[in-house]
Symmetry: C2
Subunit: 549 residues, 2 copies
Amino acid sequence: MIDFANTGQPSQLLIKHLLDRPLAWAPGRTVCYGEWKEMSYGQFFQRVQRLAQVLTSLGVQRGDRVGVMELDSHRYLELFFAIPMVGAVLHTINVRLSNEQIHYTMEHAEDRLLFVHTDFRALAAALLPRLPSVHRVVVMSDEAPRPEVPFKTEGGYEELLGQAEASFEFPDFDENTVATLFYTTGTTGDPKGVFFSHRQLVLHTLAAGLMFAAHQQPFGISTEDVYMPLTPMFHAHGWGFPYIATLLGLKQVYPGRYEPERLLQLIVRHKVTVTHCVPTIVQMLLHHPACRDLDLSRWKLLVGGSPLSEGLARQATDRGIRIMGAYGLSETCPVATAAHLQPDMTKWERSEQLGVITRAGLPAPLVRTRVVDPAGEALPPGRANTGELVVQAPWLTRGYFKNPEQSAELWRGGWLHTGDVGYIDEEGYVRITDRLKDVIKIGGEWISSLELENALSRHDAVKEAAVVARPDERWGERPYAEVVLREDKRGKVTAKGLADFLHQFIDQGVLHKRAILMQIRLVDTLPRTSVGKLDKKTIRQHCLGKGEN
Amino acid sequence: MIDFANTGQPSQLLIKHLLDRPLAWAPGRTVCYGEWKEMSYGQFFQRVQRLAQVLTSLGVQRGDRVGVMELDSHRYLELFFAIPMVGAVLHTINVRLSNEQIHYTMEHAEDRLLFVHTDFRALAAALLPRLPSVHRVVVMSDEAPRPEVPFKTEGGYEELLGQAEASFEFPDFDENTVATLFYTTGTTGDPKGVFFSHRQLVLHTLAAGLMFAAHQQPFGISTEDVYMPLTPMFHAHGWGFPYIATLLGLKQVYPGRYEPERLLQLIVRHKVTVTHCVPTIVQMLLHHPACRDLDLSRWKLLVGGSPLSEGLARQATDRGIRIMGAYGLSETCPVATAAHLQPDMTKWERSEQLGVITRAGLPAPLVRTRVVDPAGEALPPGRANTGELVVQAPWLTRGYFKNPEQSAELWRGGWLHTGDVGYIDEEGYVRITDRLKDVIKIGGEWISSLELENALSRHDAVKEAAVVARPDERWGERPYAEVVLREDKRGKVTAKGLADFLHQFIDQGVLHKRAILMQIRLVDTLPRTSVGKLDKKTIRQHCLGKGEN
């Protein structure tokens, strides 16, 4: 084999290069912050250069983590670019976590510098004394004069930018340099850090951008769209969309706090045409009284985070909104799949289409998905072949930060394990049916705990039921249920009675045969977490010693 | 700096992964060959797998060059994928070169295997005895029975595919593995090989695809388009569009031979909506009698290779065709810039828009362009700052194959030197005014030889004129002209008279002051190449000893 000449300049995939195209094509397009601020891409880039000057003058070095506690704003967008572009790591702090969790993430990330909005000054004041790694703090505010903060700072964001030069020679470096870091929380254990390189973010921007731009059904995104995020920018860097919107040169609107009436006003005022959010936000906006008389027929909504229900999708399309589900995790940057219609489906009835656009969807370009059994073997399509969804793509986190054990677990067999359970349907779409931790693996067969809970709740004596997996020598796992009876039925129905009740579903073929192995315990109440979620962790502990049949 | 955990599977950018998305989204979409053949993407992928089996059974190894002499067909598309996907290098042979040049490229590439269409059997028969590296030959044909060929073969393409299994485990390898190789010819010297890796082709596909999909003015490309190439697939792998069209799952139509009437029929029959070609093809089709009554208002045309004139753009838009210029070289894969309208320009008059869409255009995502002076220093925008266009992007050839000197020359200063002369206009668009070899560098100032030729040709005694650079001790270069006078003017006009004639243009500020340094020689004829082009190489030799003032 001949060695091909390799004399050229290898061109690295760096976030700074996402800015070249929009600055050439639409330097006058604007980035807005609510109703308060509007600036051109040209001005935006000048501010990114000033911010880079500020970062280096504050001593930020390659690889340093820079924490940000901020509302969705033009400033956050500037930080999205300037921090990675000087070679540092943007740590988008999830300000909705508990104080202890936030402290954990900042300590674990070893943030050196903190950008904090004055709305979070009490939070920062509480944490900073216990965060020795944080050497310097810059404050951001929307109020004038800026509220005092009870900790030492380097000054205000705007003053510092005002004093800095609007030019900066952004360095070249290896495209595998880490650009972003943020933490994901499960119901158990400490938050885990996921991180993405310049290469990964550029590829995610190109591939997801291409998919969303090229497909037209149920909607496409073009350079003529007006973008407003409604998933917080600290959450998987706003699903990566601020990078996509910037590369495409879209008009961008950052909304600040999520107050439904204001959000609706912003959508109208700025003629917003494309937004991404979780189903709860769609629900909240559509049901708000101020929404009733608005014309939302130019609005396109990408929904993820939790499954989009057909009911909600119908409500949105009734209003003329084009809506579509997508799927991803913090670990996947996040875009993995999106529920575009296949060519033939454009002729389908609307109700059938709703059944498609609410699926997790089809893999994005360069994404490979598989459903695997507990041994890691790939399963063929079909509902009967439910297993864990695993993913490969060039933009998945390469592990959990400073956590080699869980990194190896995440990537076992060379595939990223999503922890989600589902199957590939006949049309090739990914369907998610459960979280893996809600699945009970009985002798190689998988049964959904949610299905078992649903079945139990159909008995008219049952008030609520929780099902978890109990370790079992023979079966590996078997289902363990805690059931609270309605008060008027207590003493009248037994665990045995409930087990018999389930038999009919097994006989009808609705429930897996091995549901018969479920152990049921009647309890007075179910344990709950501080935010009111079912505390399955505690129930799992119960069953280790206390299960009854 | 903390070492970020690196436990994950690094995902390589490989051509095989371009197929995952369309096979999931639109397995039933079709790839057509003229009016003869139509197959689904699913069938296409089966044939790619069979072809991979054939390649390996014929002993193709990693890095081997596989030459192809073929019409634009579904088979060529199969070879575009299967050859790189087994790790070999696709050498797209330019069958329009002279026999000697084709022999040169195949010998230089050291092709091991040749796929040849029976239309080129005489050519192959003439070359094969002098190409010892070519061990095996597969023939392709559109005729049944297949015409006999006067050389030893492994059999016919369809028979071999028919005997092979429709499954193949495509290997993983480094994304920097070379995928394609083809030769570019200047007016001087031997053809030079340019080559592209899997990574480069994937990035070109994503970034160019994103740009063409997201922009809407003058047109956008969506998954609903029907694609037909009208630049040969051997030319810069069909401008990279077969890869883009496949990733997007477009219906694709490959036309075979370029016969105007048939091409028009195919456009109508298959409802073709998007095509790329050189201006000559647009001209040929629009002026063909069969074109007169066709409705071409759904047709979108990307034009490159040579500048798109405003006149031709007007003729096309008069027919309702949406047309746009783009710029690139074989060395650039090829897409470097495209002439999309900026946001404000959509309100402009059509005639003003024609002045935009005929420019070379704005840099594509991830492309950086610069205009540099002879010392390599970047010049600011403006026509007065004309210089050589240089480019950086992640998909430019890393050099010329087996030619380290010219590779270093191509990439001097870390930028790819296009050899094209132009400037960046006030709106940021790249404008190409000359080829570098047609520019004369007089003491650090650049004068276009084309402009000097134009000025001379305005004298009514001048039949034709050719201007080249003559080495000069004091100035570096000065212009040297050979002029043929009209027969009735011979003996009546002198070289001195012509020089005086030019003075008026210099005085008017139309011509550069240093045009005065031009040496003019009256001749009876100008030397021409075998295809009738002005032979400036010979004129340059003349001027080395024979210039007169």
